[in-house]
């Protein structure tokens, strides 16, 4: 029983919204819109659990004096401060809080965000250096096409040989696209099959116990 109800829900909703795609009529579009809104409302409650887990996670670290436990204090304080500033910053008369919220975002959170993202440039270099070795046939192909495309995007490529940018674009447009399209077919079928399995209750690991 505990398992039956969720399965029935998935089945009915699944079939309904599959059909809905083909039915343009008034009520079908309305139902569609409302359900979209409902999913938002529902997911809003999962956030409570998520935050709870995070806080709990760090509380434990602090309680048990785990290594670097003081960093957990940083996290919790930052979380609470940011949340309070943001929520009360909107209240009339408390605008200064709101401004501080924006400053913290702009000068503390956003910079770290971009810095973390910028680190990728270094990793690209190290990954390319490490992995682009002609160890096997496949690796060689990876190496060569990557090599040409890199030359293609920079002016030195065309200085070397005027055709290189065209070749680079050709690689992107023809073999690259063919491969991606092939993969896309697989993904399309895989996705559809997975959705089917969930709707029909064949794939039940989300219920736990693999359906047993």
């Amino acid at each position: 029983m505990k398992r039956q109800i969720p399965l029935i829900i998935v089945l009915t909703l699944g079939i309904f919204f599959f059909i809905q795609f083909f039915v343009p009529s008034q009520i079908s579009t309305n139902i569609y819109q409302t359900t979209l809104q409902w999913t938002i409302v529902i997911s809003a409650f999962a956030i409570v659990l998520a935050i709870g887990s995070l806080v709990n996670h760090h509380m434990l670290k602090i309680k048990r004096r785990k290594p670097h436990w003081w960093n957990s204090i940083v996290t919790l304080v930052a979380l609470v401060v940011m949340a309070l500033l943001g929520i009360f910053g909107r209240v009339k008369g408390l605008e200064p809080l709101g401004n501080l919220f924006h400053t913290l975002f702009l000068y503390v959170q956003a910079p770290m965000d971009s810095a973390m993202f910028a680190i990728l440039a270094f990793y690209m270099a190290s990954a390319a250096y490490r992995a682009f070795r002609a160890r096997s046939q496949e690796a060689a192909l990876l190496l060569i096409s990557g090599f040409i495309v890199m030359l293609g995007v920079i002016p030195f490529g065309s200085m070397l040989w005027s055709k290189i940018p065209d070749i680079a674009e050709w690689i992107m447009m023809v073999p690259n696209m063919a491969a991606k399209r092939g993969i896309l077919f697989g993904i399309g079928l895989g996705m559809t099959a997975t959705s089917l399995k969930i709707i029909l209750g064949i794939e039940r690991s989300w219920l736990g116990g693999g359906g047993k």
Binding site: Q33, D113, S114, Y129, F132, M150, I154, E169, M172, K180
Partner: protein, 283 residues
């Protein structure tokens, strides 16, 4: 000698990091700019925007990106907006990414000021709308429902340029700027479902994914990364819509040299790899 070359097979990652840093800082500090050529995907967007009827159906620009990819997408956003405003094409701005909210406002107002365009008459900005695909779908049913208030809390009906805009049929094109798969979602939920023209502005990493969609014309064009931005800047400068190339063009120098470095590293890496293999075979 061989032993020395073999060393290049296994450089410490930190050395690689250091070299990359140098290859970027030097061109930036000494400001070296190369020339580059425009690819067809960029042209696709440019040509379409170039034929939109002035004061006709507006262009919908969705700033679906976060600060971390702003470096790549801001320049193209500015370039396209300049193109529109210079030609008197109306623009509707919005964002599906929470953090795109402020980004879009900053850019659209800045460029609008350059061409002294009036808010509400020549352009509108609706800011962040939560729900992603939900919004894309709502826009097809009822724009007013999807964008009830603009960024400055002005109700939809009091925005002159938005009157007579009911759904995608009244929008010339949707340009989604994103570092994620938002443009593809637009393509599926707005393009496929409602048949509006979709253009993509993507970070260079996402751009290649969309080639299948470019070929099937599901995207009318695409701006890929800093290069796309720089190319668009070049196009509008050449066409005389704008005076000087912007940040994207400047950054291309550093880009060129860092690429060169990585290419050299790969060559050295392979030389080192094969030599050390030979050495081992001798033993």
């Amino acid at each position: 000698m061989l032993k020395f070359l073999a060393k290049f097979g296994k450089l410490d990652r930190r050395i690689v990091f250091a070299l990359l840093l140098v290859s970027i800082l030097v061109p930036l500090l000494f400001n070296i700019k190369p020339r580059f050529y425009v690819d067809s995907a960029t042209k696709g967007i440019y040509d379409y925007v170039d034929q939109i009827k002035p004061n006709g159906r507006p262009l919908l620009v969705s700033f679906d990106y976060d600060p971390q990819v702003a470096a790549e997408l801001d320049p193209m956003a500015r370039a396209v907006l300049r193109h529109c405003f210079a030609r008197g094409v109306k623009v509707v701005g919005m964002s599906l990414a929470p953090q795109g909210d402020a980004i879009g406002e900053g850019i659209i107002t800045q460029v609008a000021r350059e061409y002294d365009k009036k808010l509400g008459r020549d352009y509108c900005y609706f800011g962040f709308r939560p729900g992603g695909t939900i919004i894309m779908l709502q826009l097809g049913v009822n724009v007013k429902k999807a964008l009830p208030l603009d960024y400055y809390q002005t109700p939809y009906d009091s925005l002159p340029m938005m009157k007579n805009i009911h759904n995608y049929d009244d929008i010339a094109m949707v340009l989604s700027l994103a570092g994620s798969t938002y443009p593809v979602s637009w393509m599926i939920f707005a393009g496929t479902k409602f048949g509006v023209k979709i253009g993509a502005g993507q970070t260079a990493v996402m751009a290649p994914d969309n080639y299948p969609f470019l070929q099937t014309k599901q995207f009318i064009g695409q701006l890929g990364g800093m290069k796309g931005g720089a190319e668009y800047e070049q196009l509008i400068v050449d066409a005389g819509y704008y005076n000087t190339p912007d940040v994207a063009s400047k950054a291309m120098g550093a880009i060129a040299y860092s690429h060169l470095l990585i290419i050299l590293l790969i060559i050295l890496g392979n030389i080192g790899y094969f030599i050390s293999k030979k050495i081992e075979q001798k033993k």
